[in-house]
Subunit: 249 residues, 2 copies
């Protein structure tokens, strides 16, 4: 496995690794990861995407690859799945979408080792890692294994969300991982009929968090019915020329 | 500790335990748990609430008890915090809201043991347990320790959400835990100006999931600005006589 991949070190030496995470689930972390990866692919970069949310995997559905099984080159090397111009691997490509994976902490680490060491990625410009929500075993292991990664925090505008979401950014700073910034998702909803804008989940909390973390709010992505519709049919908006795609570029 | 609490067994023998969970985070699980507990309290029941989301705790902010520390009766017994007519315990009452708790799987189990054994709950009619998202160590341990509990699944309407959220319900059924039903949250948004209703996150997927799990959709809670506003200031809507309170009763 390592000979194909020239071992883990070269993979991450030439490759810029961006971990996308949030202390809180359901903020849109996987949607941002998938669209960011596809957007970078459309700009001509060679991009890999690891779905590190081993128990709560959702990347296969967002990219329309539910049920696709990866090919094995030999018993130690697997080929990632290719879709929308990027290379992807997820636990969802080894298990049924509705089956609960009842695993304990130590086993999860083993799967991630394989995603990083036994997948033949080739020479990548970017590797996007969609972290599981929270500050548990997996995000910590990945931060310790790849110290040169950058971290992108995703949150929604609620005060109750930004406090929980922000915890992982404090964790990243404790282990000297650079924070790229914060992507605020579901910032407002514009009524398709009367075009009034509503800050359903509030506003201003993300700016407070950015100040405390000494970083910037990079983008504010509105609640868009089209983003959800396309997610549900496995077509990330970043792949089509729609106006929604610009948030992720 | 056990003498005060007459040990774990009596606590859960007379008490109806409802675990509120979801395979996916950010669906409104903690908001449903907090409001359900407060609503049962207003109906005259003696209610306890355990925030079992040890790393991603959010109950203290939803109930306005951030920073409140529980009293210790002796070195083995702690008193829960009382607010809005219910008794509550959360990791957030032992740690700072913004500090990342960097813990590995086995330590989390120890904290939950303490929440169940070393807290003096008295005689409760209901115990609500707000589970962490996902199908990892903690939900599994709680299901194995309290086999007579009932399980309430919370999801949002998106296809991508219901598949991930549903995984924990399949897990509950595997370990013979009764499923009470499904609470769908953020079902639609009614524009405050033109009063048009939008299924921002789609519809119909929760009914499909309920059919597969052989259970019912108990309630559909709309996206309400007031639910979020009150959550952010620590006042659950179920405690006030507003129309939003009826969803949780
Ligand atoms: N800006 C948005 N507008 C509308 N729906 C969104 C938006 N971002 C995410 N979603 C939807 O919300 C759900 C949760 O997003 P997901 O990326 O799975 O969150 P996480 O990875 O943080 O759990 C998905 O069904 C997705 O389609
Ligand atoms: N029906 C609703 N309408 C508007 N906001 C809601 C609703 N339900 C939950 N929220 C908000 O969404 C955020 C996430 O809810 P939370 O209960 O913390 O989710 P979970 O426990 O599943 O992670 C909270 O800030 C809460 O205020
Ligand atoms: Zn309108």
């Amino acid at each position: 496995a390592n000979s194909m991949n020239q071992g883990k070190v070269p993979l991450f030496e030439k490759t810029r690794v961006i971990a996308v995470g949030s202390g809180k689930g359901g903020v849109g972390k996987s949607t941002v990861s998938a669209n960011l990866a596809v957007a970078l692919g459309r700009l001509g970069y060679k991009v890999g995407l690891i779905d590190a949310d081993v128990l709560g995997f959702s990347i296969p559905r967002l990219l329309g690859i539910v049920g696709e099984r990866p090919y094995a080159l030999d018993e130690n090397t697997i080929l990632p799945i290719e879709k929308y111009g990027i290379k992807v691997i997820s636990m969802g490509n080894f298990a049924d979408e509705d089956t609960p994976l009842i695993w304990r902490g130590p086993l999860l680490g083993g799967v991630l080792e394989q995603f990083m060491n036994d997948v033949y990625w080739g020479n990548l410009d970017y590797m996007i890692i969609d972290l599981p929500p929270g500050t548990g075993d997996v995000p910590l292991t990945i931060m310790q294994k790849i110290p040169e990664q950058k971290f992108l925090l995703v949150t929604t505008p609620q005060a109750s969300a930004s406090h929980v979401a922000g915890r992982i950014a404090y964790m990243a700073q404790k282990v000297n991982i650079d924070l790229i910034g914060i992507a605020e998702n579901m910032s407002y909803f514009e009524c398709p009929d009367c075009h009034k804008k509503y800050n359903i989940f509030g506003e201003g909390e993300t700016e407070k968090l950015a100040k405390e973390l000494n970083t910037d709010v990079l983008v504010k992505i509105p609640i868009e019915i089209k983003i959800r519709e396309k997610s549900d049919i496995g077509l990330p908006v970043a792949f089509i020329n729609d106006p929604e795609a610009t948030y992720y570029m």
